[in-house]
């Protein structure tokens, strides 16, 4: 078997694949986080909680209501998005005119409460969630054995990220959104319902987090802590990519997933800090992030 720097190629590719899968989840989450920051000027600390809620919604729908995998994958994000509408309309909306800090504290508080509540009800242990029958097994790509579900995660994440990016960069609705970040009062004066646009943006982005949670359920167990363990890395991704840069968030997420995978192969001890080392370097060299337009 061939080796690269003393590591078998199969092992390397296996870690790269894992990195790509983690990167897919980072991408789905950091994309939403970047849009929410860009459009609403809110640092949404509750993003991990919505991811966790997506996982639990999927688990509940599947194990309690008997909805199939595909149904849950569709319904969970909608439920989480609906909750996002409530949070935005009832709470977040009141804080837009204030300093970032207020919405940060609010969303952080929501995250703590939701996570605490779920820990209280379900305990810290994870809920098992089966891989859907249609996606069990795998295919031998020759150089590596790819479990079908993992392939599906990578493909659907990429497709959703690209569609979201296109919707924002290439459609009229996206132009309204971009312009509304620049000058909301003027966009409103042109007859566009900006408050509604913001509510839908928030709902869509936390819905994406819910989708990621539902997608992650068969891979990682559904547990109250699943959000808080991933969200820190996701924040690092957004900082590295440049707060508010949507394309940057996607590229950075996948790149960092791969860097994590490579670190696991070559120097496993550093794998959990690799992302943060990159973040420190980026902040030192390019404080506003790799892809920030204003940089």
């Amino acid at each position: 078997m061939t080796e690269i720097f003393g590591v078998p190629v199969a092992v390397l590719l296996g870690q790269l694949l894992l990195g790509l899968i983690n990167g897919s989840f980072y991408a789905l989450l950091s994309l939403g986080l970047a849009i929410i920051f860009g459009m609403l000027n809110v640092i949404n600390f509750a993003h991990g909680a919505f991811y966790m809620l997506g996982g639990f919604a999927a688990w509940f729908l599947l194990s309690r209501l008997g909805l199939g995998y595909w149904g849950t994958l569709l319904a969970a994000p909608i439920m989480v998005g609906a909750l996002g509408v409530l949070v935005e309309r009832l709470l977040l909306k009141r804080l837009y005119r204030m300093d970032h800090l207020y919405s940060l504290l609010l969303t952080f508080g929501i995250a703590l409460m939701v996570e605490g509540l779920f820990r209280h009800i379900f305990g810290s242990a994870g809920m098992p969630y089966p891989v859907p029958p249609s996606l069990t097994g795998g295919i031998n790509l020759g150089f590596i054995f790819l479990p079908l579900y993992r392939g599906w995660v990578i493909v659907i994440s990429l497709v959703i990220c690209i569609l979201t990016w296109l919707a924002i960069e290439r459609t009229k609705l996206g132009a309204y959104l971009r312009a509304a970040t620049e000058n909301p009062a003027l966009v409103q004066a042109f007859g566009i319902n900006v408050p509604l646009l913001l509510t839908l943006t928030y709902a869509f982005c936390v819905g994406l987090a819910g989708f990621a949670g539902a997608l992650a359920a068969p891979l990682y167990q559904v547990s109250p802590g699943m959000g808080s363990s991933i969200i820190i890395v996701v924040f690092a991704v957004v900082v590295i990519g440049g707060m508010g840069s949507i394309g940057g968030a996607i590229v950075t997420a996948l790149g960092l997933g791969i860097i994590e995978g490579l670190t696991k192969t070559f120097y496993p001890a550093a794998s959990s800090i690799a992302v943060f080392v990159v973040m420190v370097l980026v902040i030192l060299i390019r404080p506003s992030g790799l892809f920030n337009r204003e940089a």
């Binding site: 971009r178 312009a179 000058n183 003027l186 409103q188 004066a189 042109f190 007859g191 566009i192």
Partner: protein
């Protein structure tokens, strides 16, 4: 919220008599606040269909705030501003444009993330009868051939043309123009003035906030003088020369 006492309203109507009928916009005792600060203290004026009126006055007199109050981007408001019989104070900010009111802000508000053509196409057309892109280019030839230039890469004057042009596409027939000549080269000021006269000839109604008296006189029918958040005088354009002394006193020139 407190409304204007009914007696004051009816008084104004009898006082104005026939004029109130013909007015497209009738602003009565409009007050406005930015947060805690009370900026407008009862602005009253009217605009008839097809007319160009200016709001003139010193810096801080409340001219821009009056425009912003009409479209609902200030904090609290009180009074009435009847537009085609509907009180704009009861209209949600995003629905004002749908009544055919176009707003060109003082800072022009060209979106830096959008190109010239994207800026032009940006505001939705809410009413029929808006201009075609070619007509807008005819009015402002400087914009022609610049479609893919980022909007904020244009000169100040060209950005002003773009800001006016994009409103014309929407079918708005009532235009609020905030200091279109501020910081702009004289040649371009002349072009904007010519364009405004064409728009007026096409039947547009315009409220123009202006510090440049000569420019204001070249397009307007009537001038309302604002001072400390109130309309303190009305001068018809024909009587402008005769009242120059009075006007200069208001403006503190």
């Amino acid at each position: 919220m407190l409304k204007c006492p009914p007696t004051a309203k009816s008084e104004k109507h009898t006082w104005e008599g026939h004029m109130a009928e013909a007015a497209l916009l009738n602003v009565n005792n409009l007050e406005a606040w930015y947060g805690e600060s009370h900026v407008l203290h009862g602005v009253s004026f009217d605009v008839r269909k097809g007319e160009v009126v200016t709001l003139i006055g010193r810096n801080g007199a409340g001219k821009t705030t009056t425009l912003r109050s009409l479209i609902g981007v200030v904090g609290k408001r009180r009074g009435t501003s009847l537009f085609k019989g509907v009180d704009l104070l009861n209209v949600a900010p995003h629905k004002v444009a749908r009544m055919g009111i176009g707003y060109v802000p003082e800072e022009r508000g060209i979106f830096s993330t959008l190109s010239v053509i994207e800026n032009l196409m940006f505001p939705p057309a809410w009413q029929a009868g808006g201009m075609e892109i070619d007509e807008i280019y005819g009015l402002f030839p400087n914009l022609k051939g610049r479609d893919h230039t980022p909007g904020t890469r244009l000169s100040g004057g060209e950005q002003q043309m773009l800001a006016i042009g994009r409103i014309l596409r929407t079918g708005a027939d009532f235009i609020l123009l905030d200091e279109p000549t501020e910081g702009i080269a004289p040649v371009i000021i002349d072009e904007i003035g010519a364009a405004l006269r064409i728009l007026k000839a096409r039947g547009m109604t315009i409220i123009l906030v202006e510090q440049n008296l000569r420019f204001a006189a070249s397009v307007a029918d009537r001038h309302f003088v604002l001072d400390q958040g109130k309309v303190v005088d009305e001068i018809s354009n024909n009587a402008l020369d005769a009242n120059m002394d009075r006007l200069n006193r208001y403006l503190g020139v």
